[in-house]
Structure formats: C-alpha cells, structure tokens
C-alpha cells in the first residue's frame, strides 16, 4: 500500500502486518522484489507525518529509525487504518499468537485508480457523448419522428426538379429546336407548372422540417442546461472551490449553445446530405450505370480526405473550446475583482493576462483554420473535376447515341447539387468534433457525484432546539489536516465566538456545522442527531448564515431579506430589517425596500450589505418565533 519509493518516484510497495511481524515489499520494476521484515516485539512506534502533498511513514524501534516510506495522499486513509491496526497489534502480547499469519494482510491497493485518473482526456471519442445526447431527446420522440419524416420528404422533393428537367429537355426543347416533329407548346406550360409546384412543395417541407428540428434542438439543450444547473446546485462547496467560475459559466452557457446549433443545423444537414446521396445514387444508376460510375468516382477520394482532416481537427476544437473558457475565466476573475486590480495598479498586468488568453484562442483557432482553409477549396476542386468527368463521359455517350441530351442535363443537375452538399457534408466532421467536445464538457459536470452523499432514509429533523456537539471531529482538506480532533458542546441559545489565527479552522467549524463539508472522522451532533444521518435540506432550514463577505443577489432589498423564506410577509421583512438595524438606512434609499441591489443597481456600503444579510438570517428566526 505504499506507492512511492525513497526518491519519490511512483513505485508500488506493500507493507504487511502479520501477527508477530511487519514486512515491507518493494514491488515490480526493480530487478528482484526486495523485502524487509521486522519482529513486532522490536518495534516501538509507527508514525505518520504529512509532508506537503505526500505522507511519510516512520517506523521507529529501539530508539532508531528503522524504516521510512512515502505515500501519496490518495493512500492516506489506508495508511491511517493501517496505523490503528498496528497499534492494536502492538498492545496485544506478541507471544500468544505465534505463526498464525492470517487475515490481517492489508492488500487492497488503489494504485490502479491513481494511475487511471492520469489518462489524458484529450482523445474524446465523438460517438459516445453524442449518442448520450440522443437520450436527452427521448421525451420528444414523436416530434423527432415527425422531423425525420419531414426531412425525408423534403429531400425527396428536391429530387423532382432535375427529373422534370430531363423530360423537359428531351421531349420539348430538343424537338423544338431541331423542328423535326410537331411539338405541342402547351407541354412547356405543363412542365413549368410542375416545376413551380415542385419548388413550392420543397419550400413548404423545408419550412416544416427546419422548424420542427429547431424546436427539438431547443428542447434538448434547454433540458441539458436545466439539468446541469440543477446538478450543479446539488454539488458540494468543495467542488466549487476547485472549479473556476468562468469555466462553469461557459459550460452551461456557450457549450449547450454549440450543441443546440449542432443538432438544429449541422446534424440535420448531414442527415439530409446522406439521404440525398442515397437517392441520387439510386436515380443515377437506374438511368445509366456507366455515367453514374463516372460521376460518383471522386466520392471515395473526398471521403478519404475528410477522414484525414478529421484527425487534425479533433484536438484542435477541444483546444479551442478550452481556450475560450480560459478567456471567460480571466474575465470572471478580473471584472468582479476590479477594485483590487486598480488598488494595486495592476491594470497592465491584467491586460497582459487577457492578451495571453486571447492570443491562445487566436493560435488554436488559427491552427484549426489552417487545415480548414486548405480543405474547403480542395473539396471544391475535386467537385469541379468530378463535373468535368461527367461532361466528358456524357459528351462521349451522347455522340455515340447511348444517352440523350436530356439525360445528360439531368445528370449534371443531380451531380452538381450533390457535390454542393459534399462541401457541407465535409464541414460536418468539424462541427461534430466541436459538438462532441462541448457535449463532453457538459457531461463532465453532470457526471460529478455529490461528495456529500444523499442519505437514504435520512432523518427529517424538523425544528431543532439547537444543541450542537462536536465529538472528536477531524477534518482534512486534501492532504491538509485542518481540524485535529475537537470536542465541544454548545447549548441552545448559547453564544459562542471562535478566536484563532488565520487557517486555524474557525470557518471550517462553521462549514462542518452547516454540513457543507463532511467530517473526516468523528461526528457533529445536533440535538443528538448525527449530522451525517440527517436530511441536509431539512436540517439547513434551521440555519441562518451571515458571511464575512455578504453576498446580495440581484433583486430588491425586500427580496434579498426574504431569500431564505420567499413567502415572507412584508411585516416579517420589515421586522427583520428593524432587528438588524437596517430599517433606517433602507428608508433613506430612494426606493426604500424596493431598491435594487446586487451586481448592478443601488450601491450599498459594506456595513449596509452586512446588515441586510443579517436581516436575511434573522428572518428565519422571526419566522419560527
């Protein structure tokens, strides 16, 4: 269960405790697995010391240091459990149990997990997140089906026009020009009308399709946004401490927007293109197989090219998306902190920071564009070449009387509209990569498990008296031990102040009492209930909290005071404000309790904000009294 060697390189090791011996194995990698053993009787103490990100285990015996091992903080819990076991074992007289070396082997190694977490997340398989996207569309399967039908119909309708043109040329135009036979001019009108009807049909179907598909896309992304935000609200403070605000904002804001665009525009276009491809191929082959082969010849080349470019673009778009959220992060950092920036005259440095982030976006996009700009004209060139082949083979066939001019016209029309789509089809890979990257970033948030787990059969505490007890509480933040075994009882109505230097854990105690964090060891009891068995939401209804940095939401003062109890009456709001001594200054504002505060709007002093947040906490008390 050790995972570092003396030089702090990753290497698996194993410390084994048996009934009368302690062994240490150093595992693979070295030429032969080495192992050292001590008799338990010779050992005095096994100490655990935190050294930054790693933990040192010291084995003491006969007053000297016998062994020293290092583990990463991932192994910390294991190490502690081992330590407890060791002390227990040492207390029992070692003479009794002789060679029954059973059961006590500590062999669970989570090293695998540690290494698994390191796997590069650059390679996002596009299929998986996108397939998962589909599961979000399930409630609207009827709409989806309608969209599908409309898409097929509208693509089919587009096929009518070239077909009609073929007959128009052969049955009307050519005879008309050569004047060999008598032509009914009325036939022209019939064809023109039919063409107009075909165009009208295509228009109507396209309209319906676009609307239906856009609606589905909106439904799906709105559901994603909602779910991601709901999920985010459930996550613990620890998660928010780790994440950058700007990054989270851009995931819910712009990444879902990308996805909406992908579904409503890119994906449906691609679907139409594939349909058109199939339809065209069928029609062309049914008319003239030889010409069809010539016309569709360049398709594999283009497909290959698309495949090549896909590789290039894959990483590029993920990088671009990351660069974008980095920029948002800089903004979310600098704009709210503008006072600090100005106070320290660091505008230039922030400008520089922004410039770097912006340059990064430019570079990543530039890299993508380089591939891109080559790719698009390349497709065009191949398309033109393809058309040339059709013309050449067509002209030859017409000369040999195997096809008519009308058929050739039809072919050219079909194939040029087809190649036109080829261009957008190739664009699809790029947008798919982009969408996959976005989907991945959104699902990344959705997949985080709340680390204050939702308890099943949690106790609903209702209204508490407010007796708080900390029983041997230990709390660790990462590898940093913040609270080392505190026991404390606070009676209901008792007022307690915590005094201590910065980082002593005053705020942590409050956070633990609010159950923002989970205790590492020991328990927090409120009215005798262990907090970890209690329904969190229900429990927190008992709490009022005033932070060092009072946070006011965008809204009126009345709304802010009533934040914890949205249905509070105006009498309650005013009473809470009076109790917090906020009433008088509120009345001095132009709109009194209707004044807007928060991000923009009425500016309040720090003390005034503090009073409003005190009123907010007091309102709950007023409510229960």
């Amino acid at each position: 269960m050790t995972d570092l060697d003396a030089g702090l390189h990753f290497r698996h090791g194993l410390i084994v405790l048996t009934n009368n011996r302690l062994l240490h194995f150093e595992a693979e990698g070295t030429s032969q697995p080495s192992f050292v053993a001590w008799k338990l009787a010779d050992l005095q103490e096994f100490k655990l010391e935190e050294m930054g990100a790693t933990i040192a285990l010291h084995l003491m015996g006969n007053g000297t240091l016998l062994g020293q091992w290092r583990v990463t903080s991932g192994c910390l819990r294991q190490a502690e459990a081992f330590l407890a076991r060791f002390r227990e074992q040492c207390r029992t007289p070692s003479g009794e149990a002789t060679d029954a070396e059973n059961g006590d082997n500590e062999k669970e190694d989570d090293e695998e997990e540690i290494f698994a977490a390191e796997i590069d997340d650059d390679a996002i398989p596009p299929g998986k997140p996108l397939l998962r996207l589909l599961s979000f569309a399930r409630p609207w399967y009827r709409l989806l089906f309608l969209g599908l039908v409309l898409t097929m119909a509208s693509t089919g309708a587009q096929m009518i026009a070239p077909w009609l043109t073929m007959s128009l040329v052969d049955d009307v135009l050519i005879p008309l020009q050569s004047q060999t036979e008598l032509v009914q001019v009325r036939k022209v009108y019939v064809f023109i009308t039919e063409l107009a009807l075909a165009a009208l049909l295509t228009w109507a179907l396209n309209w319906g399709k676009t609307f239906v598909v856009a609606r589905i896309a909106e439904h799906v992304t709105s559901r994603m946004r909602r779910e991601t935000f709901e999920h985010l609200q459930k996550l613990s403070l620890t998660y928010f401490n780790r994440k950058r605000t700007g990054d989270l904002i851009s995931r819910i804001g712009s990444d879902t927007e990308h996805l909406s665009l992908f579904i409503s525009v890119n994906f449906i276009d691609f679907f139409c293109d594939v349909l058109q491809f199939i339809f065209t191929a069928v029609i062309l082959f049914s008319i003239n197989p030889l010409l069809a082969v010539a016309a569709l010849g360049p398709v594999p080349i283009v497909a290959w090219l698309v495949q090549r470019v896909r590789e290039h673009l894959r990483g590029g778009f993920a990088a671009a998306s990351r660069a974008g959220s980095q920029l948002t992060s800089v903004l979310a950092d600098t704009i709210p902190g503008v006072r600090v920036v100005k106070a320290f005259a660091q505008e230039q440095r922030e400008i520089e920071r922004f410039r770097v982030a912006d340059k990064h976006i430019f570079d990543t996009n530039d890299r993508v564009n380089k591939t891109w700009s080559f790719f698009t004209p390349m497709i065009k060139l191949l398309t033109d070449l393809g058309l040339l082949i059709v013309w050449a083979v067509g002209a030859w066939s017409v000369a040999h009387d195997s096809i008519t001019v009308g058929v050739l016209t039809g072919f050219v029309l079909y194939i040029s509209s087809f190649y036109e789509r080829m261009d957008s089809m190739s664009r699809f890979t790029a947008s798919m990569q982009r969408a996959a990257a976005s989907a991945h970033r959104v699902f990344d948030v959705l997949d985080v498990k709340p680390d204050v787990p939702v308890q099943r059969n949690a106790i609903k505490v209702g209204r508490l008296r407010g007796e708080i007890e900390f029983r041997d509480v230990k709390f660790r933040y990462g590898s940093r031990e913040i609270i080392r075994g505190i026991s404390l009882k606070i009676a209901p109505g008792e007022m307690v102040g915590f005094v201590g230097p910065s980082g002593a854990g005053k705020t942590t105690l409050v956070n633990l009492a609010c159950r923002f964090f989970e205790v590492s060891e020991g328990a927090v009891l409120v009215d005798g209930f262990n907090l970890s068995d209690v329904d969190v939401m229900d429990y927190r209804r008992n709490l009022g909290l005033v932070l060092q940095e009072p946070y006011l939401f965008y809204g009126t003062i009345a709304e802010n005071i009533a934040y914890g109890k949205p249905d509070a009456t105006r009498a309650e709001i005013v009473a809470a404000a009076r109790a917090a001594r906020a009433h008088d200054f509120i009345m001095r504002l132009a709109d009194a309790y209707d004044s807007l505060v928060g991000e923009r709007g009425q500016q309040l002093s720090g003390g005034e904000r503090q009073r409003i947040s005190i009123a907010r906490a007091l309102l709950l008390e007023v409510n229960h009294a």
Binding site: G555, T556, E559, V574, A575, M587, R588, Y593, D594, A625
Partner: protein
C-alpha cells in the same frame, strides 16, 4: 414581532401647511413627512412617518384604517411627495446617440423622457418593470403582459 397598528394617532396641518403628528403618547411632532416602504411594489400600504431629522417615529401599515381627517391629511402629504407615473401606453421609443427617448401615456398624462442605458429598465418580479429616466424619476409598468400588443412590441427592443 410585527409592528402593531398605531390607531390612536392624529395628523394635523400647521400654519405653514406642514404635516404634524400627535403620537400614541400625546407627543406632538412638527414637520413630519411620510415615506413609503415599498413605493414600487406595494404603494398603498406601509408608510413610515419620519421626523424632521429623518428619523422614523412610527410606521403605519394601512393608511386607510386611520380615522378622518388624519387619513386625508396623510394621503395628501403622500400624494405631494410621491411621484411614480404608471406607464399605460408606449407610443414610441427612439434610439438616441446615448440612451433612448420614450414617448408614453401615463396615468398622469402624456409625456416624454430620456433614459440613459438599457440597464435603467429593471424588472421587479411578477412582470413589474421600473424605468428610471435621466433625472432619476421612476416610471412603473405594473404588468408587462397587460400592455397592449403594440406597446409590448416597442418594449421588446429594449427589454
């Protein structure tokens, strides 16, 4: 903990037309002025009576419950101080170089006013909207949904 309604109070007008208050204990406060606690969201209730030095003497939840003549005196005093026109119809909103100009019909007649930025239009919840002009006068739209169709269309560009 809510403020009990002080019923046995009396308002009077002094020689200079200023409002005076005789409170529950019979103490007379000269030159008091009323101020609304919720001027935008609940303008007919919750009036604070402030002394000359802008200290609150007492708070009246429902002015209508006061006996006459006190009630009329208080309502008059409120009407003199309070000016929040309610926008009934929006005729047009013209984009200016900085800000925009509104032409509206309010409950106090037709008017036009200039608004500095889009941020001067602020929602107060429940479809309520307050518009602040350059002179910090507030104009209220009690319910956006209840405006006529054309007014709503005009508003859409700015809010």
């Amino acid at each position: 903990m809510s403020t009990p309604q002080p019923l046995n109070i009396e308002f009077a007008k002094d020689d200079q037309g200023r409002l005076a208050l005789v409170d529950t204990n019979g103490i007379r406060h000269a030159n008091v002025h009323p101020a609304k606690l919720f001027p935008l969201t609940e303008k007919d209730h919750w009036v604070s009576i402030q002394s000359e030095g802008a200290r609150e003497i007492l708070c009246i939840e429902d002015p209508q419950s006061l006996p006459e003549p006190s009630r009329t005196l208080l309502l008059e005093a409120l009407a003199r101080r309070d000016f929040v026109p309610i926008i009934l119809v929006i005729h047009r909103i013209v984009r200016l170089a900085n800000g925009h100009e509104w032409h509206v019909t309010t409950d106090r007649g037709d008017t036009r006013f200039e608004v500095e930025t889009d941020e001067s239009i602020q929602p107060l919840g429940h479809g309520r909207l307050v518009v602040m002009d350059r002179g910090n006068t507030r104009y209220l739209i009690p319910n956006v949904a209840k405006l006529d169709r054309i007014s709503k269309r005009k508003l859409e560009h700015y809010y």
